[in-house]
């Protein structure tokens, strides 16, 4: 037995070692391929941005020119300013109505809250062109809001409201009720509890909503195309009009690059301060 088992184990050892090594290399191959695939996809994501970045530094005759960016604060400055104003106003209104709504949905026994939540998050799925068309018709014939910036702001509010609501709901669900109960036991009023306990603790979720709503409104062109008052042209709308009518211009690319860089900086600051936890169940994983 032992005499016959010794020669039989020798090839057995080598035969197990060789597939093991092969498995190790194939695993490494898979790793390289998977990470390569991820990087390939990421490269495709930033491809349009990179192209615009390169293009925005192109001068006449293929030379290098930084002058294109002077237009961003020059003739495009007004558009940029409108964009910032519209974004800030609509994000503020968003916050003012989403915060109580989220609190009611999570903490109060409101009948039919699931239906209400679904109905309120519908605009995420309604195409922007339909929202724009319905609003421009309602503004024209019923509300008479076509010449005021508030029509545009409220259109933005309706479209981005779900983006604000969802992260706040997520944050509130993560917050144990016992904190609020403890505050109440210690004699705090409802308002005090909310202001001193709940509001600081849901800060990250709140900021996630603020960031999402801001970058969406800041870059919105489609609903704006329908409902903008004739004297208000936001930067994305200006880009859209220029690309459509004037063809490709490096100055337009410079504006698009600036818009994306501002948005990207907002996102990066958010990631740095709060991490990505509260973006769950929203746009980003």
């Amino acid at each position: 037995m032992s005499a016959s088992s010794v020669p039989s184990t020798a090839p057995l050892v080598t035969s197990t070692r060789r597939p093991a090594r092969r498995r190790w290399t194939s695993r490494r191959m898979t790793d390289i391929l998977s990470h390569g695939y991820i990087w390939f996809c990421l490269a495709v994501f930033v491809l349009p941005f990179t192209a615009l970045l390169v293009y925005s530094f192109t001068g006449p005759g293929g030379t290098y020119a930084i002058e294109n960016f002077q237009y961003v604060l020059g003739s495009f400055g007004e558009n940029l300013w409108w964009s910032i104003r519209v974004s800030v106003l609509s994000v503020a209104i968003d916050l003012a109505i989403a915060l109580p709504a989220a609190y009611a949905i999570v903490r109060y026994p409101v009948p039919g809250k699931r239906l209400i939540y679904s109905l309120l998050s519908l605009p995420l799925y309604v195409p922007g062109a339909v929202i724009g068309l319905s609003l421009v018709i309602a503004y024209n014939f019923t509300y008479h809001l076509t010449t005021s910036i508030w029509g545009l702001v409220l259109a933005m509010v309706v479209g981005t409201f779900p983006l604000m609501l969802t992260p706040i709901i997520v944050a509130l669900k993560d917050l144990p009720v016992s904190f609020e109960e403890a505050a109440e036991c210690l004699g705090a009023s409802r308002w005090q509890t909310f202001r001193r306990i709940v509001f600081p603790l849901i800060g990250p979720g709140l900021s996630a909503g603020l960031m999402l709503a801001f970058i969406i409104v800041f870059n919105e062109y489609l609903v704006t195309l329908f409902v903008h008052p004739s004297d208000v042209t936001t930067a994305p709308l200006r880009i859209f009009n220029l690309v459509r009518t004037a063809g490709l211009l490096p100055t337009t690319a410079a504006l698009a690059v600036t818009m994306q860089l501002i948005s990207f900086a907002t996102v990066l600051v958010f990631f740095r301060v709060f991490g990505t936890r509260y973006l769950k169940a929203t746009y980003l994983i």
């Binding site: 996809c41 349009p48 421009v136 490709l248």
Partner: protein
């Protein structure tokens, strides 16, 4: 006065609790009121308004002689404008398929293998800034004589045929909606314990069997939700076909609706197109919420 505290406890508890419950419900509704108010005024009323308007002829809604009620807008939708509807659904479907093919492996690798996930998130933010920038950037790349010309020459594709064509529109659309697919599939995948895959492998399953028998059934809800979301978002595509497609072939409903409604003032027809898109959106939302988000509110 002195006897009052004694009479407080047990008998009053029943009605008191009920009253508190009712008050909590009222406060809840009051807190929801601004959101509901804005939603009704600026979303649901306008949408109902265009539903009503889609049954009137042309701009007869404006005329003093009164609106002419008709269903001709919808018959035109099924007749002359059927190609527009078809191309809208076709583009959205193709973008969904592209995202499914490229997004599922991406989500799997991201959830199981990648440690630098924050970096990936930072990169994935770019498509979110809007289809407009994507379409603009790709238009510059694909332009005859643009940066991609050597690549096309290498592949032997005539450069001029690339820019205003279906594939470039689908490419731009799938870049724009890719994060939605990855988000849905990735969330579903991160809820699946990796131990299950290891167990399947230990029991002799091939990777393919592990995928079809273990992963696919467990993540089906996420995959379906991702597809629905991508499809729903792609239906409203506007900038990509306009900047990258040919104006005769990739004439989507959203763009035609803009032309008819805002430029040619044919309100009846354009609102009918809006209603058709809206119905799609409702169906997609219904199923999508059934598969995922509803759980958030429970």
């Amino acid at each position: 006065m002195a006897a009052e505290p004694l009479s407080l406890p047990i008998p009053k508890l029943g009605p008191d609790v009920r009253g508190r419950e009712r008050r909590a419900r009222l406060i809840g509704l009051a807190l929801l009121a601004p959101a509901i108010f804005v939603g009704l005024l600026f979303l649901y009323y306008p949408l109902l308004f265009i539903v009503q308007m889609s049954f009137t002829l042309g701009d007869s809604f404006l005329r003093p002689s009164g609106a002419v009620t008709t269903i001709s807008n919808y018959s035109a939708m099924l007749g002359r404008y059927l190609p527009n509807l078809a191309v809208t659904v076709q583009l959205a479907g193709l973008a969904t398929i592209a995202d499914l093919i490229f997004g599922v492996p991406f989500a799997y690798i991201l959830v199981r293998k990648v440690r630098y996930r924050d970096l990936v998130r930072a990169f994935m933010v770019f498509p979110m800034f809007g289809a407009l920038y994507i379409a603009f950037g790709l238009r510059f790349i694909l332009l005859p004589g643009g940066p991609a010309t050597p690549l096309f020459e290498l592949l032997g594709i005539p450069n001029a045929s690339v820019l205003y064509s279906l594939p470039s529109v689908v490419f731009a659309m799938s870049i724009f909606t890719f994060p939605f697919m990855v988000m849905n599939v990735g969330t579903a995948l991160s809820n699946v314990d990796p131990v299950l895959e290891e167990a399947a492998a230990c029991l002799g399953a091939t990777p393919r069997q592990t995928f079809t028998r273990i992963l696919l059934p467990l993540t089906r809800a996420g995959i379906v939700a991702g597809c629905l979301m991508v499809f729903g978002w792609s239906l409203g595509t506007f900038a990509e076909p306009l900047l990258l497609g040919s104006i005769n072939e990739q004439r989507t409903l959203a763009w035609t609706l803009y032309l008819k409604g805002v430029v040619q003032l044919d309100y009846g027809l354009s609102t009918a197109m809006g209603v058709v898109l809206l119905i799609f959106a409702f169906v997609v939302t219904y199923f999508s919420l059934r598969f995922t988000r509803g759980a958030l509110v429970e």
